[in-house]
């Protein structure tokens, strides 16, 4: 195991794919993990829906529970109209959840600890919100930036602040997931490094190593919670942003 806590986030080229304008594109370990995630989710959901039992089996229960969970999240925060975005939110939720949980397996790679991945997901949400908001509400969508009951005098400043607040959404949306994953994995790695270093320091060190080892176990449990929670937060924020696109008039 490597002792450098940052090394786990390194991208390795695995196979050259194609080049565009002199820029060589590679199939990387990150891409491999994403492929694995997508295949796993597809296998899980297809496998779960094959029996189509009225009384669900284990696998079908998992699929039904995740459906119910995401559907409730969407309905609660974006209303029934938001259900047309259910496939999108469900895909995001499952992808982020699987990426987070698979990243916890030792020697694997956490896709969501790469800012570019979470930024792409957040920007996708952002542009869908903007595009759908304008498509559905026309210029009415701009009402989002004009809060009611504000004196005319300070309205320009408020509108500017609202616009900035809107533009900062994809940043906080992506950075939150990325930073959680990054920090969690670095902490885990540092404590695991303590175990190795102490264990190599003789008899006393082996007893001392028990402490960070317990810490690693506890942290792994915490990270599992964070992995699930961050996927949920990512999904629910997506719903809230979509809600703005569906009902901008306040």
């Amino acid at each position: 195991m490597q002792l450098n806590p940052i090394e786990q986030f390194q991208i390795h080229n695995m196979a050259p794919l194609f080049s565009v304008g002199g820029q060589q594109f590679h199939f990387t370990n990150s891409a491999l993990l994403m492929l694995i995630i997508v295949v796993l989710i597809s296998l899980l959901l297809i496998g779960a829906t094959v029996p189509r039992a009225v009384v669900p089996g284990r696998l079908q229960s998992i699929a039904e529970m995740s459906y119910e969970f995401v559907a409730k999240t969407v309905r609660d925060s974006a209303g029934t109209e938001g259900m047309r975005f259910f496939p999108f939110v469900f895909t995001l939720f499952m992808f982020v959840l699987f990426a987070n949980v698979i990243g916890l397996i030792p020697y694997s790679f956490t896709v969501t600890s790469q800012l570019i991945v979470t930024a792409c997901l957040a920007l996708l949400v952002f542009f869908i919100v903007v595009a759908y908001g304008f498509w559905k509400n026309g210029l009415h969508f701009l009402n989002l930036f004009v809060p009611k009951g504000v004196p005319k005098l300070i309205l320009p400043a408020i509108v500017l602040i609202e616009i900035l607040s809107f533009l900062s959404r994809p940043v906080s949306h992506s950075v939150r997931l990325f930073a959680n994953m990054l920090a969690g994995h670095i902490t885990l790695q540092v404590f695991a490094g303590f175990v190795i270093m102490l264990a190599g320091a003789g008899i006393l060190g082996i007893f001392g190593a028990a402490l960070p080892f317990i810490m690693v176990i506890l942290l792994t449990a915490l990270e599992l919670l964070v992995a699930f929670l961050q996927a949920y937060v990512f999904a629910i924020l997506t719903c809230i942003y979509l809600n703005d696109a569906i009902h901008p008039g306040h």
Binding site: G79, T80, F145, S168, S172
Partner: protein, 126 residues
């Protein structure tokens, strides 16, 4: 003969299926009524933030940082494009800070968001 029996089987099967779908329909209606009665549509973000203090802290700090960063970025861009340095950065950094504080207060639920998770969705369409 076996053909006739099969037909009969299929007939009863169809009746059973019809009964089943009727029951499902009734169940769905009941569920819908139940869900309508429930005081749902509460801003779901409350649950997301109260789920753990750690997540809450992370959420709030990232909101603030995002506002400031976006404000600074836009100010810097304006400076570069319009050559009004340092005014763009100064003004937009402050505005970005205000936006960050607004973000934090909104996601903490201190301010009823004017645009964000406010009130009940579905009824607000104008």
């Amino acid at each position: 003969m076996s053909d006739a029996r099969e037909n009969g089987d299929r007939g009863t099967q169809r009746i059973e299926e019809a009964a089943l779908s009727a029951r499902l329909q009734r169940l769905n209606e009941g569920l819908a009524r139940n869900q309508a009665r429930r005081p749902s549509e509460s801003p779901g973000v409350d649950r997301a933030t109260t789920a753990s203090g750690y997540a809450r802290g992370f959420r709030l700090s990232s909101e603030l940082v995002a506002g400031v960063v976006v404000g600074a970025g836009i100010g810097w861009l304006i400076d570069r494009l319009l050559g009004v340095s340092p005014w763009g950065l100064m003004i937009f950094l402050l505005l970005g800070f205000a936006a960050g504080v607004l973000n934090v207060m909104r996601s903490a639920g201190v301010v009823a968001g004017s645009a964000l998770d406010d009130g009940s969705p579905g009824t607000r369409k104008e």
